[in-house]
């Protein structure tokens, strides 16, 4: 292709996805903070008519942070990491370049359509799988394009072996492909009802308990194959690269990978403990959830041990600080999840605020911190400018860490209080509290959560400002940094 020009990695697709990571992060987290405030102050539901109600905004929050912020982050890092660990540039294949850009633009259009339809209340009412079938088809196309990119770039690689991060990206691709297709099997109501329904509105092909099982097999594994493997893929590359230390044990990374693949898919039924699914299936979900601690901690400990002998970097380098804390929150989240899956604990935890508390120490601490750290590491390499301000990263870190701690502690207390009040009975066996009693008691915790959300969101705006300044106004770099990311004070 090029004969004389020096060959370089091509980051044009990574750059595009970096921008959407920031954009969707702002939208998703702003909506999240608003709905947290709505739970504390219900009058906030009526700011913009039907479009501002909790029921409309909650799916918007979850879908925008998962499929907007997080997926953009996974893709921006994929289009960066894959080239580097395979030692091949996207500029070497016009076809892959076209597919990569097509992947981005179709995704962006699809995401906008998804946002608008959710605001309009168009939904098939399955949690995290709200989109109606025409959007599902667009999503499948987007996923196929990513698959072509993944296997296309692997096909032209110079490095024979695939680095562990790539195995995780492949797992993300294959896992979500399988889950999404099976959970979104639906029929338009027009055909089900013999002509009186709608072509665009569909209902699940499964019914009752079967539908719940498929939904939570999807729901739990969406957490597994997006929130977990998509982010582990990042930390296995960015922490060693930023610290200049090779991963502590490559063997442990392989073992944890296959362990995670084996175990994760069986744990979904823990979402349906004490429901109508067969008892053995609930027990299986519970047991596999506890076993999941091993591969999860295998990866997290491997990351912490990678820093062995180099812990001084934790104080010197705020990007390392973000990644080490991400890894620590991953450990917290993956011990908390199995505890909640134990049947007796689940009897208290199920349906309470402890569940969103658990989710958020994972997503804010693990996913959010790792994604932002990855973007900070990539920015000087793809925009060829140093990070605008180290001080801002430090400020952001402390504001957001405070936010996360306030979020999960308030939800732990709220959730356990709620669970205990729901099951409290007097000496005659009558329930001691009505639902509204719990709501009144929980109000202060909902206010604390709103404050926590505001803190995290403030930190995210600082991150976005730092990134935009890095792209536009920071000092230019003449050569690519090898390990530690250069940053202005």
């Amino acid at each position: 292709m090029q004969s004389n020009a020096a060959l370089e990695y091509d980051y044009s697709v990574a750059k595009l996805f970096t921008l959407t990571t920031i954009l969707f992060g702002i939208i998703g987290m702003t909506v999240g903070t608003l709905i947290a405030a709505q739970l504390a102050f219900p009058q906030l539901n009526y700011l913009i008519g039907e479009y501002g109600t909790f029921s409309r905004l909650r799916p918007l929050h979850t879908d925008v942070v998962v499929y907007g912020f997080l997926l953009s982050g996974i893709w921006s890092t994929f289009y960066y990491v894959a080239q580097r660990v395979l030692k091949v540039s996207m500029a070497e294949s016009k076809f892959l370049m076209f597919i990569g850009k097509f992947h981005f633009y179709l995704y962006f259009v699809g995401a906008l359509i998804a946002v608008v339809t959710l605001l309009l209340g168009i939904t098939q009412s399955k949690e995290y799988a709200e989109f109606e079938w025409p959007i599902d088809i667009v999503i499948v196309l987007i996923w196929v394009l990513w698959g072509i990119s993944v296997f296309g770039i692997i096909g032209i690689r110079r490095e024979k072996s695939l680095y562990i991060s790539l195995w995780y990206y492949i797992a993300c691709f294959l896992g979500v492909a399988m889950l999404y297709l099976f959970n979104n099997m639906a029929l338009p109501t027009y055909f089900v009802s013999g002509g009186i329904g709608s072509i665009f509105h569909s209902v699940s092909m499964y019914s009752g308990t079967n539908d719940a099982l498929v939904q939570w097999w999807f729901g739990h594994n969406a957490v597994g194959f997006v929130f977990t493997v998509g982010v582990i893929a990042q930390i296995y590359y960015f922490l060693p690269k930023e610290s200049g230390q090779a991963v502590y044990s490559y063997k442990l990374s392989l073992l944890s990978f296959w362990g995670l693949m084996f175990v994760y898919l069986w744990a979904g039924s823990h979402h349906l403990i004490w429901s109508t699914v067969p008892d053995w299936m609930q027990t299986m979900g519970s047991v596999f959830s506890v076993v999941l601690i091993l591969p999860s901690w295998g990866s997290a400990i491997n990351m912490l041990l990678t820093m062995k002998g180099e812990w001084n970097q934790l104080t010197d380098n705020p990007i390392i600080k973000l990644m080490v804390l991400a890894s620590t929150f991953y450990m917290l989240s993956t011990i908390e999840g199995p505890i909640q899956s134990i049947k007796s604990v689940n009897a208290i935890a199920h349906f309470t605020d402890w569940i969103p508390g658990h989710v958020h120490d994972g997503v804010l601490g693990w996913v959010g911190f790792m994604t932002m750290a990855a973007l900070f590491h990539m920015a000087p390499r793809i925009f060829k400018r140093e990070i605008y301000s180290r001080k801002l990263i430090d400020i952001q870190f402390w504001i957001q860490t405070t936010g996360i701690v306030l979020y999960f502690t308030s939800m732990w207390v709220a959730g356990i209080t709620q669970g205990m009040m729901w099951r409290a009975v007097d000496e005659y066996g009558n329930l001691m509290y009505s639902f509204i009693d719990t709501v009144a008691i929980l109000h202060p915790y909902y206010v604390i959560r709103t404050v926590a959300g505001l803190l995290y969101l403030t930190g995210f705006f600082i991150f976005a400002f730092n990134m935009i300044k890095t792209m536009t106004a920071s000092a230019k770099l003449t050569e690519e940094p090898q390990h530690r990311t250069p940053m202005a004070a």
Binding site: A6, L7, V85, K87, K241, L255
Partner: protein, 72 residues
């Protein structure tokens, strides 16, 4: 044998089978390294030395072309 009993046995033996598989894999990893057939830890360097003209840890025989000459 009732279905429930059968499910119980199936779960038990599947768990045993998976545990054996897992331990088998750990033994395979360590044994092949001890015998000198594989050096897994060298793959960790892929993330550190990842310039486009760095020498691959293991060169893909079907690789498109060399870059070192091109980038001189």
């Amino acid at each position: 044998m009732e279905l429930k009993e059968l499910q119980g046995y199936a779960t038990f033996f599947m768990t045993i089978f998976l545990v054996l598989m897992l331990y088998g894999y750990i033994m395979h990893l360590y044994r092949s390294e001890k015998k000198g057939e594989k050096d897994y830890e060298k793959y960790g360097k892929m993330a550190l030395d990842d310039e486009i003209d760095s020498t691959p840890i293991e060169t893909n025989p079907n690789s498109p072309k060399k870059t070192k000459e091109q980038n001189k």
